[in-house]
């Protein structure tokens, strides 16, 4: 099942105790010269998409070719996601801690010559304060980072995720070794229960209680018991689990092994979404390395406890994020959910007691065991402890991964850490919880981001996507978007979901075409209630949320579509027209060249006009115009 990557050699020194682990750790630390330059290049999905692979190659090539003194020859590391995706590719230079943004392969020569050889920063690559324009040198000084509390993300972007030694150097597997040596399985469960940790997958069920439930089930009906990682992160706009698996795979693995020890499981599964090949690769490497070091497999650290795990790649089905569908899929079948009247801690995989936790939840476990439940529960709010990693995306200046204590107000995340929206105006709404969540309007921007406050607002934590919307985003359109998404992703087993979501979407289609009736809103709400009450799994029961919250908070906008046949945000195609402002148009012909209907005419260097009869409102002219001359009416 290995994909044949042998780039990383594993020193197969089997570790047999906590002492062995500490010795190895000391050896790694001693061997490392903290004053020697190191170049950390972000190799997360966002930066790869932005060209970071070319940057890595350039560093390797130029360092090999350049005449650099061995003492300052930099170590080059490809790391996991460093967080500020909108400014990628990101490069971090140690020991100075310089933070370079938007680095291109052509910048590498300069970095080597100036920073590595002469110890000077390359000014143009530094982050600039958006208000003062002043360059900021280090990550710690940038508000985007300094306002966060990075616990789960602490090592992501700082270590090479394909090296177990990098992980051991920063304290990896200490919690496991400690637990195996000094704690009984019951004590591990108790510690997790006392920490107040709640599942990061969306619903926020207390993790400790889930584990206790599984133990009770084992007592009642016997084993085996399985532990499973839910890495089927499907919420569009959410990539925090991806970043954790890619950037710190050993954290997930260590958490899983600790869980297995606590629950007495000998077999585990990591179910990972099809679209995350790099996460699969890094976890495969992590498992191989952990096995070689005696941290996974038979007789872990000579403790007598044995556990191994396998990776199942998802095959493209959002519904498999639902626990029972995920189990069905691991069993090799079509991932349709099963009714959950018997909890999966009692009857999960192959009908046996099973503990399924989300990637981020598992990554929290080593921290809780290492630092204790009291430390953990001192972060966040009494009912939602710890931190949460959010993906801040959409119409916001700083797009990327954000980790803050639970209960942090939305405005702090969007306006302070995120730097507000590009137009400088207040944001219109934040969509949380993906297709199961809701749209929270600006007037509720002080809502704390924790499980219960979000549920009270009609939204949901979900896996942690925060999609920022501005005045050019239409709530009817976003409602349609999520309904269409779920229609495509519904497994089709139960009728409320398979037929009901289509009916809801068709009503919204009518709104966006200006054909809605006022009584349709009531129909929608009543039908939504039937779907919430009647659907078989959480995909269906939560599916009406995005639509219902937009009706609740943005009723005026719905009424504008229904009563006035207007789309105030200028999105719904059938309710808008495009025109060109003759004063702003320079006659550059960019739009005319790209118009698929050839309906933009005019002489070069003179204002152009759009023939409204032929226009299909594809929006290409609006997207293309550099002079803001295209208007939406």
């Amino acid at each position: 099942m290995s994909n044949g990557n042998t780039a990383i050699s594993i020193d197969s020194i089997r570790l047999n105790s906590l002492e062995d682990l500490n010795t190895l750790r000391q050896n790694i630390i001693d061997k490392h010269d903290p004053n020697k330059p190191e170049v950390l290049i972000c190799h997360g999905t966002g930066c790869i998409a932005n060209g970071s692979v070319e940057v890595i190659d350039a560093f390797k090539k130029i360092c090999a070719d350049a005449d650099i003194d061995a003492k300052i020859m930099p170590g080059i590391k490809a790391t996991g996601c460093q967080g500020l995706c909108s400014k990628g590719p990101l490069v971090l230079i140690k020991p100075q801690g310089l933070f370079y943004q938007k680095v291109k392969a052509s910048d590498v020569e300069d970095i080597i010559q100036k920073t590595i050889i002469k110890n000077e920063p390359v000014e143009r690559l530094l982050y600039k304060d958006p208000k003062t324009g002043k360059p900021i040198k280090t990550e710690e000084e940038i508000p985007y980072y300094s306002l966060q509390k990075r616990v789960i993300l602490k090592n992501i972007g700082k270590i090479d995720p394909t090296s177990i030694h990098d992980k051991i150097a920063v304290g990896g597997y200490q919690a496991l070794a400690k637990a195996l040596k000094t704690m009984t399985p019951e004590e591990v469960v108790t510690e997790v229960a006392n920490s107040g940790l709640r599942g990061r997958g969306g619903a926020g069920f207390p993790t400790g209680r889930k584990w206790q439930g599984a133990l009770k089930a084992v007592e009642k009906k016997g084993g085996p018991v399985y532990v499973v990682v839910n890495g089927d992160e499907g919420d569009p706009g959410a990539f925090m689990d991806c970043a954790i698996m890619e950037g710190d795979p050993h954290a997930v693995l260590e958490g899983l092994i600790l869980g297995a020890y606590a629950l007495g499981a000998n077999k585990g599964y990591l179910y990972i979404r099809a679209e995350y090949p790099l996460a699969v690769k890094h976890l495969e490497m992590a498992m191989e390395q952990a096995r070689a070091h005696g941290l996974l497999g038979d007789n872990i650290l000579n403790s007598g406890f044995s556990f191994d795990a396998q990776i199942n790649r998802g095959a493209g089905a959002f519904v498999c994020g639902e626990s029972t569908a995920l189990f069905t899929s691991i069993e090799g079948k079509a991932g349709t959910p099963r009714p959950k009247y018997v909890r999966s801690v009692e009857e999960g995989l192959w009908g046996n007691p099973t503990v399924l936790n989300n990637v981020e939840t598992w990554a929290n476990i080593p921290l809780i065991i290492k630092k204790g439940a009291d430390w953990y529960s001192s972060i966040g709010t009494p009912k939602s402890t710890g931190t949460k990693v959010f993906c801040l995306v959409g119409k916001v200046n700083n797009v990327g991964l954000v980790e803050v204590p639970m209960g942090t107000p939305i405005t702090k995340i969007v306006d302070e850490i995120g730097g507000g929206i590009p137009s400088g105006k207040p944001f219109k709404a934040v969509q949380t919880g993906g297709p199961s969540g809701g749209c929270i309007p600006n007037k509720l921007k002080d809502t704390p981001m924790d499980f219960d406050s979000l549920t009270d607002a009609g939204a949901m934590m979900g896996s942690g996507a925060m999609i920022v919307m501005d005045e050019h985003d239409c709530v009817v359109d976003i409602g349609r978007y999520f309904l269409r998404f779920l229609e495509e992703e519904s497994c089709g087993k139960c009728i409320p979901c398979r037929l009901g979501l289509t009916k809801m979407r068709e009503i919204l289609d009518n709104f966006s075409a200006g054909k809605g009736k006022i009584e349709d809103i009531e129909t929608l709400q009543s039908l939504a209630k039937a779907i919430q009450d009647g659907a078989l799994c959480a995909l269906g029961t939560s599916a009406p949320n995005p639509c219902l919250t937009t009706i609740k908070f943005f009723k005026d906008e719905y009424l504008a579509h229904i009563n006035d046949q207007k789309c105030p945000a200028g999105v719904c195609k059938e309710l808008i027209t495009y025109s060109i402002d003759p004063d702003a148009c320079t006659g550059c012909r960019s739009c005319a060249r790209l118009c698929p209907e050839n309906c933009i005419t005019g002489k070069k260097k003179e204002p152009h006009v759009i023939n409204a009869d032929k226009c299909i409102r594809c929006g290409i002219c609006l997207e293309t115009c550099k002079f803001d001359a295209v208007q939406v009416n």
Binding site: G237, F318, K333, I467, Y481, I620
Partner: protein
């Protein structure tokens, strides 16, 4: 066809003869051949003991499986929420017009397959297009023109 049978036999041998490995096998066959043929599905069914009816049911349930050969170049437009807000649908429509096919289809000359995908996790660079595994970011209509030109000149 015989050499393919042998090659598929080799894929089968990586896994135990158990029903739970059906999806693994279909995935490996698809990554080797780009799609799952009738014959190879029958071989997987015989090997794992899963009736062909169930294997077909599984293969059609999951979005990533293809039962038809795909075009030489695969264009996948991300329609995650961030990409939607930033015009992902516009990109799909423009490609549909340019290639004269609908999303999910392959051009007659087997040159292009156009598809959509739910969020690839590169939301900072929305809208995103995956052209043969290469991320093309902040896509606009004029960029599409260039990307297609680049592919065709290869």
């Amino acid at each position: 066809m015989d050499h393919q049978v042998e090659a598929i036999d080799e894929i089968l041998e990586h896994y135990p003869e158990e029903p739970e490995f059906l999806i693994f096998l279909l995935q490996d066959i698809q990554s080797a051949y780009g799609f799952i043929s009738k014959e190879s599905m029958q071989m997987v069914s015989d090997y794992t003991g899963v009736p062909i009816t169930q294997a077909y049911s599984v293969a059609t349930f999951y979005q990533s499986f293809r039962l038809e050969p795909i075009g030489e170049h695969e264009l996948r437009v991300c329609l995650g929420t961030a990409c939607h807000l930033k015009g992902g649908q516009r990109i799909v429509e423009e490609l549909e017009r340019k290639l004269n096919i609908k999303a999910g289809e392959t051009t007659e000359d087997m040159m292009y397959t156009l598809d959509t995908v739910n969020c690839v996790g590169a939301c900072a660079l929305a809208p995103v297009l995956l052209a043969d595994e290469k991320y093309e970011t902040n896509i606009t209509a004029s960029k599409i023109k260039k990307i297609l030109k680049k592919i065709e000149s290869k």
